[in-house]
Symmetry: C2
Subunit: 202 residues, 2 copies
Amino acid sequence: MIQLYGTPRSGNTHKVRMALAFLDLPWDEQLTDAAARQSDAFAAITPMRQIPVYVEADRKLRDSQAILTYLAARHRPGDWDGHTPGERSEIALWLSHAANEIANGPATLRLARQFGAVIAEAQAQAVTARILPVIDAHLSDHRWLVGDRLTIADLAASPYLALAGEADIDLARWPAIGEWTDRIAALPGFPAMPGWPAQTAS
Amino acid sequence: MIQLYGTPRSGNTHKVRMALAFLDLPWDEQLTDAAARQSDAFAAITPMRQIPVYVEADRKLRDSQAILTYLAARHRPGDWDGHTPGERSEIALWLSHAANEIANGPATLRLARQFGAVIAEAQAQAVTARILPVIDAHLSDHRWLVGDRLTIADLAASPYLALAGEADIDLARWPAIGEWTDRIAALPGFPAMPGWPAQTAS
């Protein structure tokens, strides 16, 4: 059985949770809160002491983008990780944005607002202001980030944008982002997450 | 002819320069300094106004990790981007570290020291202190980041570590990192970069 180390409110964990749910794979969650992440036992599992961690038999994977890449290559090759060099590159672009701008912008602001983290507020605001219009512009004429289907780009980029309200970010100026996170939440099998707005009836 | 928008001292540009050189592909460089990046012409090429940008006929790619992913999938599929789901995941992990921790740690410190950028110094120091031991420990028993050969993981992660001296980072505590960047610089066709230490005779 797949073991997923994480917490219910971790957006990075939710990226993997969505993938597993959409793949219809069973998994167990290992609740790994801040105290557990400081333990020696957890350091032995992952050197960065970060969640999520994916463990399956003797396979141990860290970093949400890397876990999504594994699941795509194993279970949905091409479909979820790109059929062509061009698609693969586009997906890698959004994984970069997820790992950098989204993590250091909206996700970092949410850490401060929801969990009391001490952050570099000005930098987090600046990177947020830089990335949101780029994502919104792209989604204004694309239903999905890459191609005409869900890929791991959507799974990697969406949670901390869906959770923008918890970061005191008003997405009213960026409506295409909210429409896209609603689209993801409407997919069959989508696992609910605290703070991810319930899909509005339409 | 491939057009590469960048600067000689941009480590992100150098990731792509190394890939093109190792692939023995000809390219033209479009010198794109800070002033050029503020121009409307450049904004029309790339919404984030960042280098590098790769242009080839009607293909236009941004983000160094995404460009490496394209070049690997097109010219060295499997070899450079992973033969198995496990390798693909490991490569994605290092691309995440390149996009986030290395960019926001060593590369950001270098931006301040070399180019006068205003940075969140404490955060950049903290992320540097977190990532260097993880990379060094991995390279202490691996010649290359993934598998037993060069992959785009090495191309993405190496420049800002090779340039650590320009960020006032002393790599003496992390010798495996310097040995690995020397190993990359010793590869046939390696393009020299200002600040990347000349390979020591051995």
